[in-house]
């Protein structure tokens, strides 16, 4: 991993990145623990849960894909749903671009891959402007690497502990529901404008109404109906789109 690149972890800013993430680490770990338990209790095998934890590294798309995997939805429906849930990161990457675009492509993609919500918020708060000199750029990169390093480790360790613990919990406790509550909490956190609440209500109702469609296509239909309806409402009433930025 690039956390291990000496030019980054020997830089003093790496430690500052670690330190600024530290207050968030217990929360990240508790969330990871719950995700680990919920993955196994929603019907994933232990090996699948470990592979998902190590590779996917995105709690919300992991939890959202599990009901679809268990229901046997086609891969494209699962991947499209995961991408929609992850679209907030597309917005983050636009914001981070000027800070990282001087790096070779695979290095900036690796930075992007390990930068989740909290690191994005902390990084853009500490560095509102991109670096201009090579030393400023190195400083920003080292901070981000330190931040991501602690975020990644607390999430991974806690998720793997959760997967291990899940085997000792009887399935009829229904702990998989913790995953749904987690997604519900993220859903509430995204409900920052009236139009987004409309999108949420319409998508939920449409997904229930079209539940009988094969291949879990109700998810795709619900997203399409909600987005098209909201864009149409914006067009007829431009004032409706308050809170314009993601």
């Amino acid at each position: 991993m690039m956390f291990l690149s000496p030019k980054l972890f020997r830089h003093p800013e790496f430690k500052i990145g670690l330190r600024e993430l530290a207050p968030q680490a217990p929360g990240i770990a508790a969330w990871g623990l719950m995700t680990g338990v919920a993955m196994v209790k929603s019907g994933m095998s232990v090996f699948e849960s470990i592979a998902m934890t190590l590779l996917v590294f995105a709690g919300s798309s992991q939890l959202a894909s599990i009901p679809l995997i268990v229901a046997g939805a086609p891969a494209w429906v699962i991947l499209a749903t995961g991408f929609c849930v992850n679209l907030r990161f597309v917005v983050f990457s636009l914001h981070l671009r000027p800070h990282l675009i001087h790096l070779p492509r695979w290095e900036r993609l690796l930075h992007g891959y390990v930068t989740a919500d909290i690191s994005y918020v902390l990084f853009t708060r500490r560095f509102p402007q991109p670096g201009h000199t090579p030393e400023q750029r190195r400083t920003q990169e080292a901070y981000l690497a330190g931040n991501d390093c602690l975020n990644w480790s607390s999430w991974m360790v806690a998720s793997l502990v959760g997967i291990a613990l899940a085997n000792f919990i009887p399935p009829d406790w229904g702990l998989g529901f913790a995953g749904i509550l987690c997604l519900l909490g993220i859903q509430c956190s995204l409900a920052s404008s009236r139009m987004r609440m409309v999108a949420s209500a319409v998508a939920g109702a449409a997904a229930v109404a079209t539940y009988a469609l094969p291949l879990k296509l109700n998810i795709v239909v619900a997203i399409a109906v909600a987005v098209i309806l909201c864009l149409t409402m914006e067009r007829f009433n431009p004032n409706a789109s308050t809170g314009g930025h993601a």
Binding site: V46, L190, M195
Partner: protein
């Protein structure tokens, strides 16, 4: 090892690899190309709504349906736990407390009263 792999199939593992690629593409979307470019206006606006719509489309059926039909009773632990979770979120603005509070309502109803 055979215990560890129990219930694992190749298709699911391929989907997991696909989801990892989705994470890389989403988190590095604007890092892929060296030249700066912009999304068309409709796509920028669509980014406002697609994430919450996708979550809602997955979450709501998991709360109000069972075995493919809308539940016909209010005696379902999921309804009470979700209401508690949403209320906690809007008071405390904290996803972790939403999960813990929701499960604190869910488990007694589900295990104690059999909802």
């Amino acid at each position: 090892m055979s215990d560890l792999l129990q219930g694992t199939d190749v298709w699911t593992l391929l989907v997991i690899v696909g989801l990892a690629v989705v994470t890389v593409v989403a988190r590095g979307f604007f890092f892929i190309s060296d030249s700066a470019w912009q999304l068309p206006h409709w796509a920028q606006r669509g980014l406002q709504y697609a994430p919450i719509a996708a979550l809602s489309a997955v979450v709501i059926p998991e709360i109000v349906m069972s075995q493919g039909a809308l539940i016909s009773t209010w005696q379902d632990a999921r309804l009470f736990a979700s209401a508690a979770g949403v209320a906690i979120y809007f008071f405390k603005r904290n996803v972790l407390l939403t999960i813990l509070g929701g499960m604190a309502v869910y488990l007694p109803l589900h295990l104690g009263l059999g909802f």
